[in-house]
């Protein structure tokens, strides 16, 4: 972190930074300093650049600068078919990769009007909830590490390695799996992987309790977070918060209840809501959500039916590989779908799921061709970072780190 001179800052950013200053002195920068919390920083959760205007140690203004990980996702989506885009969606919110896969295929199935068999929906629910647990573990771990408790990070990563082993057995890759397909999932969940999942969730809650015992009664942790970065209910709604951050400010909205997708309306779980809206509330919402995810996975494992895992629509859903190698029609369908893509009808839809950071949505416009005409990714982290200048005003420099950790942004998603 280094103090910048006036002419080193881009003039447009400087103008935005100096705009809302209520200190009227001759040269506004005499008593104030512009600090660059650069894209390469141990505690900014990725490549986020913050320009802070400081008065001593207190922050007077803040301008985030995004775009250091802008990879051109939306332009690439216009040039490749719906199937080819599934590995790209993995790398959006790269801490919970399965959830993005599920969101994309749900949006494409809504556009193309494909009915998915029930067993595939249940498997998708399991992997989405496992992805949520993995994401919250990393969020809690790195949040605690930013505030100073280094041990918790290694303990939560140890739990996360167990989830990655489950994914390794289920679909072959530990991370960035691309497990879902349009019309179902890639392969059936073997009994071995289901047993691994059951064993994991049986021992997960005591381990999470152990991590929490290090933090919840720790005086430094609580005093450093209590009352910091508080946001009221109206501000949270107005500034575009969604997900756990919004539920920590007292708004009871969860897309799994409001607009149910997959089979969530048949599951029995609670949605944790806290009213204070500060960093500590956001931390508690995440730990409670991890516990509720465990309850959902247990119910799904008990209720899962037998059946096929891919829809039986030959023109739109890839057939199983064994059939492709032995039967004629499946070979032709495979060739047509891979080369020319599924051709959904002309139209546009927007579909959103409750990702681990908030509302992850895809807006797809189709002109009847094999690739989308337009794809817009509504990323929760982008909208959550928008509230950052409002939250850090009046706080001290060391609080910025705690506030960023509690919002939990992922730059791969925010920058697309």
């Amino acid at each position: 972190m280094e103090a910048l001179k006036k002419d080193e800052v881009n003039p447009k950013i400087l103008e935005a930074l100096l705009k809302d200053s209520d200190i009227t002195i001759d040269d506004a920068l005499d008593n104030e300093m512009i600090l660059n919390m650069g894209p390469q920083h141990p505690a900014t959760h990725g490549v986020l650049r913050l320009l802070l205007k400081l008065d001593g140690e207190t922050i007077v203004g803040c301008v985030p600068d995004l775009g250091y990980l802008h990879r051109g996702y939306e332009k690439m989506a216009e040039n490749m078919s719906y199937y080819e885009y599934i590995p790209h969606t993995d790398r959006l919110d790269y801490i919970s990769p399965m959830a993005n896969n599920v969101a994309w295929v749900l949006a494409v199935e809504k556009l193309a009007g494909i009915e998915v068999p029930v067993r595939a929906q249940y498997i998708r629910m399991i992997i989405a909830e496992l992805a949520r647990i993995a994401s919250h573990l990393v969020a809690i771990g790195s949040f605690a590490m930013d505030v100073g408790a280094l041990t918790v990070f290694l303990w939560t990563l140890r739990e996360r390695e167990k989830i990655m082993d489950i994914w390794d057995v289920l679909c072959g890759a530990r991370f960035t799996n691309s497990y879902t397909r349009i019309g179902g999932v890639a392969n059936d969940a073997q009994p071995e992987s289901l047993k691994l999942i059951r064993d994991f969730i049986d021992q997960f809650i005591p381990n999470l309790d152990e991590c929490e015992r290090l933090l919840n009664t720790n005086r430094i942790f609580v005093e450093r977070l209590d009352g910091i970065g508080a946001i009221s209910r109206e501000d949270a709604l107005d500034l575009g918060f969604t997900g756990p951050n919004l539920r920590a400010s007292g708004v009871n909205i969860d897309l799994r209840r409001a607009t149910p997708y997959l089979e969530y309306d048949k599951m029995d779980f609670e949605v944790p809501v806290y009213n204070e809206g500060d960093c500590l509330a956001r931390y508690f919402v995440r730990t409670d959500e991890a516990r509720q995810s465990k309850a959902i996975i247990r119910q799904v494992l008990d209720k899962m039916p037998q059946g096929p895992v891919r829809a039986a629509e030959p023109k739109k859903v890839l057939p199983h590989k064994a059939d492709v190698y032995s039967k004629m029609e499946e070979l032709i369908h495979d060739f047509m779908i891979v080369n020319f893509g599924i051709n959904p009808p002309v139209g546009e839809i927007y579909h959103a799921i409750e990702g681990s950071k908030g509302e992850l949505g895809f807006y797809l416009v189709s002109k009847g061709e094999g690739h989308p005409w337009k794809c817009k990714i509504r990323s929760p982290s982008f909208n959550n970072i928008q509230a950052l200048p409002h939250l850090v005003k009046g706080a001290m420099v060391s609080d910025v780190v705690a506030i960023i950790g509690s919002i939990d942004p992922i730059m791969g998603e925010a920058d697309k």
Binding site: N10, K12, I13, A16, K19, L66, G67, H70, G72, E74, K75, M76, N79, K110, G113, L237, D238, L239, G240, T242, V251, I253, A258, T259, G347, E348, I349, Y350, A352, E359, G361, Y363, V365, W373, K374, K376, R378, F382, N383, Q386, D415, K416
Partner: protein
Amino acid sequence: MTIKEIIKNKLQENFKDASLEFSEYKDEFVIKVDKKIIASVCKLLKTDTELKFLICEDITAVDWATRKNRFTVVYHIFSLKNNIRIVVKADVDEADCSIDTVSSIWRAANWQERETYDMYGIKFNNHPDLRRMYMPEEFEYYPLRKDFPLMGIPGSLPLPKK
């Protein structure tokens, strides 16, 4: 009356002389308005006590690559009270590539409109801080337009020397 009919009636009452089109596609309710009245339509949708569309989920634009009405700006908004999501659209021509901002109504629209400006070049009138979002400030093109190639224009972005 269903909530969609309530919205329809309220809009038709308040904007009698404007041309509004309502359509439904796969249980999504779409309202197409003229770009000059977009700010007042959004204000009504937010402040009316029965409707209360408090959350602005997303603002984006679509490039149709036609001569007339090249862009369409699309707003997705959500109402907590009625648990419904609607889509509001407005056509923008390439010659007069600007539309009124709604960031005074929903503060979340601030960055979303900046991103639309960065990617498509649509200017938002009275926006408090219209800068580029993702590309560096010196970049001269608008990446998501259909005439910009996928691999970019060589030389448009500088690289450090080895």
